[in-house]
Symmetry: C2
Subunit: 148 residues, 2 copies
């Protein structure tokens, strides 16, 4: 497994239980985890939490972000509004591996209504343990920070 | 099936064959399809095509966009830089259904190295045939157009 990292995690109400399970698992693995909420099951709007976690990833306060909502789609769209964020919406580990090796992803998004906690852990493990390949991929990643 | 729509499709070199197959299938279904390229197998950068298709979707030149690359991740991140675009990265039809019913997605992204052409068609069918639910989802979708 990779060296301990600073990792932020955030969700909406639909993914509250998955967030709690993944947070505890990441802490057990030795990572420093910032849980950006929500803290209760009250209904919230996923864009608020998507923007919040994107901000701390973009600022460099944390090295990686894990974003969760019902499908994973809404919070990933919100996070990718930030040009410093590369948030990969995944539901299996192969895509999480490509997200790192080709896209240098600094965030991962998953859906609590789509995949279970063990699949989510397998995706995060691939996301944390895969290095960016650089080379021709660097030019493309650079273009993601400079939308026309 | 839904009424005929104006649909744009774009990819990178890794998804050229999938793009051709989906383009012909959409035309057979009666849709008007704008193929934004690429036209050859020469290596290209997915952000260029992601920004290009996002522009025509945002302008309203087309009603929907279909974006493809190796994993689907890179081109979906690029498309979502445009605050008028809601591009759903999917690999199965249930998520494509949520993308429409909850997120009012106007674009879908898929990975040619991750899913095959029949799965991609099932995702597009769900994407084209599902209505947005509105209600509480509208407020969240509105927030996606106004990143903080």
């Amino acid at each position: 497994m990779c060296e301990p990292m600073k990792i932020a995690i955030a969700s909406d109400h639909a993914a509250l239980d998955l967030k709690a399970e993944l947070r505890e698992w990441l802490i057990e693995l030795g990572h420093e985890v910032a849980d950006l909420g929500p803290d209760t099951a009250e209904s919230v709007d996923y864009p608020d939490y998507g923007y919040k976690i994107a901000d701390v990833v973009a600022e460099g306060t944390v090295e990686r972000g894990v974003a969760l909502c019902g499908s994973g789609l809404g919070i990933s769209i919100a996070a990718n509004r930030n040009p410093a964020v590369r948030c990969a919406m995944v539901s299996e580990p192969l895509s999480a591996t490509f997200a790192r090796s080709h896209n240098d992803a600094n965030m991962i998004a998953m859906g609590a209504r789509i995949i279970g906690p063990e699949m989510a852990k397998a995706c995060i493990a691939a996301f944390l343990n895969t290095e960016f390949e650089g080379g021709r991929h660097q030019r493309r990643v650079d273009k993601l920070s400079n939308p026309s």
